[in-house]
């Protein structure tokens, strides 16, 4: 009996004890919800004290606009104490009200109401996948090439979500740099320093939602190019220093030579054959003798008032070039300023006697030879040259000096029109070597009666168009109404000086020259035939 009472008391005590430790479950707390791709979402809660009894949690939710209470469709996909809402149960732009209720044997406890205004507000994507960083070192400018994939489960094709990425690059312990790539899958970071270590990670965002977590960081080290190339640069510097030193040594050792080469001394004044010392210290007579005695002055020639020379007139290149007789001569015409010579044509080649030869005889008369008319009429006036040594040759010249010379006296201005000039005609009296003696006007009367001339009182004169330089005298074609001239309209002549053989080719071609411009005349009729 007593034993049975004791047992009963014990049982009641134990029962009483057990009843005091169990309780209804504690209040669970909804921690939060998250939608990774805007199509599904998951909610988690934290269970309270379970009250010593096995507790079961259930989630109930209500959607906006409907009083119907639904229970969580999936308690297991997202892990413990979670509720996963699939695509069918997820409605965007709809308010959700969630409650978690804990059940145990003794009762149940509800959590506080948890409201989701809009699923858009709880969107938070996963991190971008496969973030890889490569170092590209093209052309010594290294850069980082970062590539990634979109976060898992996100639909990027239908336009439902717009993903925005953020890339963070941190150099060693500096402040990180943030980039926002525009491309979907890759990005290049250019401002990287060789030899430095970089930490790169990424995160993303859907449609202005919350940012995802940072991806796992990739650490890269840029190889130090300068280090690799150091020996090269050392070699280069050594090889460039050696020639430099050599150059400096040479310059220093041969500085005099270098100085002379760089800065050549300016030669002082020096007269050949004269001793500078003599000039400095010598007596006056010595100095003068030294100075003057050194010079070789040419002997003073007797200058006439007007020096004239023979001019070789030809209208044929070949004649000038081939004629050996002429080529021996050195003729030059010296025309004093203010005197314009009109020189008649004279042939000097006896073989080609186009012109009528006129030989000035002793009496100053010119006897023209009748010339046969040939195609190439050659007019040649042999002019005496200034240089010595041709005196004898001149006299032996078959082409004697012309008989008639027209001298235009320029009065005053040189540029006066030809009509303004007065023409003085005078006979060449005598050619004495290098000089032409001209008859004065008083004697001209006699000179006018040169045989062969009477019939041509109105002699044909050709005007000298221009004196081209000092070597060429261009005659003008006779255009006047003179009857005698008309016959010889085609006369053309080219006056050249033998010296100016090379310059023979003037503007005028063969026999194409003469244009009368109203200058003085040159007698062309009896002396030469021109074509």
């Amino acid at each position: 009996m007593k034993r049975r009472l004791g047992l009963a008391v014990l049982l009641m005590l134990s029962a009483a004890l057990r009843c005091r430790s169990a309780s209804p479950p504690g209040k669970p707390v909804l921690i939060g919800c998250r939608s990774p791709e805007k199509e599904t979402f998951t909610c988690w809660w934290e269970p309270g004290f379970n009250g010593g009894l096995p507790t079961r949690h259930r989630l109930f939710y209500e959607k906006e606009g409907s009083e119907e209470v639904h229970e969580c469709p999936d308690y297991w996909s997202a892990g413990k104490n979670s509720c996963f809402f699939g695509k069918e149960q997820t409605s965007i732009w709809v308010e959700y009200s969630l409650t978690v209720v804990a059940f145990n044997a003794l009762g149940n406890t509800s959590s506080d109401l948890f409201k989701i205004d809009d699923v858009m507000k709880i969107v938070k994507p996963y991190t971008p996948e496969n973030v890889t960083v490569l170092v590209n070192d093209t052309a010594n400018t290294p850069y980082l090439c970062v590539s990634w994939n979109h976060p898992p489960k996100v639909d990027t094709k239908s336009g439902w979500t717009t993903i925005k990425y953020e890339l963070r690059v941190q150099k060693e312990d500096n402040k990180p740099e943030i980039f926002h790539p525009n491309k979907k899958n890759s990005f290049k970071v250019y401002n990287v320093d060789p030899g430095a270590t970089y930490t790169v990670d990424m995160r993303c965002q859907l449609d202005q939602s919350s940012w995802s977590e940072w991806s796992t960081a990739s650490v890269v080290k840029i190889p130090n190019y300068f280090q690799n190339e150091k020996p090269f640069w050392i070699l280069v510097s050594i090889f460039s220093v050696i020639p430099l030193l050599a150059t400096i040594c040479i310059v220093v050792l041969k500085r005099k030579f270098v100085k002379q080469w760089l800065l050549p001394p300016v030669p002082g004044p020096k007269i050949r054959g004269v001793d500078v010392q003599l000039l400095k210290s010598g007596r006056a007579e010595d100095v003068i003798n030294a100075l003057i005695g050194n010079q070789n002055f040419p002997p003073a020639a007797a200058w006439m008032d007007q020096t004239e020379e023979y001019l070789l007139v030809s209208d044929s290149n070949d004649w000038l070039l081939t004629d050996p007789y002429i080529s021996q001569k050195k003729k030059s015409l010296v025309i004093p300023a203010g005197v314009q010579l009109e020189i008649q044509c004279r042939t000097s080649a006896p073989a080609q006697s186009d012109c009528e030869n006129a030989e000035v005889g002793k009496d100053g008369k010119v006897e023209p030879d009748h010339l046969a008319q040939t195609k190439e009429s050659v007019l040649n006036v042999a002019a005496p040259s200034v240089s010595s040594g041709s005196k004898e040759a001149a006299s032996g010249n078959a082409a004697g000096p012309t008989g008639y010379v027209g001298i235009q006296q320029h009065k005053g201005t040189q540029g006066a029109g030809p009509n303004a000039a007065q023409w003085d005609y005078s006979w060449v009296k005598e050619v004495n070597g290098e000089t032409i003696f001209i008859l004065k006007n008083e004697d001209a009367a006699a000179g006018w009666t040169v045989p062969g001339w009477e019939e041509n009182t109105a002699a044909d004169y050709s005007r000298v168009k221009e004196v081209n330089g000092d070597d060429v005298v261009l005659l003008q074609k006779h255009d006047s109404a003179d009857s005698s001239c008309k016959k010889k309209e085609d006369r053309s002549a080219e006056w050249t000086n033998q010296k100016a053989k090379s310059r023979h080719g003037s503007d005028c071609g063969k026999g194409a020259c003469l244009q009368i411009a109203g200058n003085g005349y040159v007698d062309s009729v009896p002396r030469f035939y021109v074509e």
Partner: protein, 241 residues
Amino acid sequence: MFQLKSWPQFVLLPLAAGVCAVWVGMVCLVFCSRLSGMKAASICGNAQAECHFLSLANLFDRVIQHSARMHGISNDLHSEFELYFLPSKNQVSRVGRNCHTSNILTPNGKENAQRIEREELTEVIMKLLAAWRDPLWHFHQSVARNHRFNGYGSNKSLEMSDMAHELRKGVQKVVEKMQTLGVISNSVGGLASPEALLAADGSGWRFMKDSDLLYCFRRDSNKIQNYLKILKCRIVPEHGC
């Protein structure tokens, strides 16, 4: 011989005139050819479908950008309103919040939006935009009158109202373009059905609280933006989807 001075005037003048005329003619030719070339480049023949679709995608991009901006402004305004006027979120009762556009059936998910017809989706967008024209305008008026917001808020409300108006016109253009191209049928009513709807539900929004109005508009602007993106990627998927 070649000295121009020596040439007589009666030769020079016509010559100069001729040269000028030739030069002017050449310049004109060059310009005309360039213009015609440019014209040819800008005119897309009706046979070139690619040309048309490209411009439709461009139109879509613009309206999507516009709607994104509008949603951003509405979001800012709503946040500011909650910050200043509703410090305690607990006061929000879920019964009270009832948007006047609730009776417009809108797809609530990606699948739904992809499942319904293009015309229907376009209609939804147009209805939403039409439904918010007057409420936004009145909201701006009340804000400006009562000085409830600071200057920033007042400017934003006006901007929001204008943007909604412009977006509506822009979407109408897109619809017209789509109808021209034959992408969607002509059954999409331009202004008739939204106006009718508005008339039917005309006064519902007048009794909304400002906070509710902002909340509702923020949500609807987000809907519009998403629907436009879905529509674009359904019609012109090759251009940036």
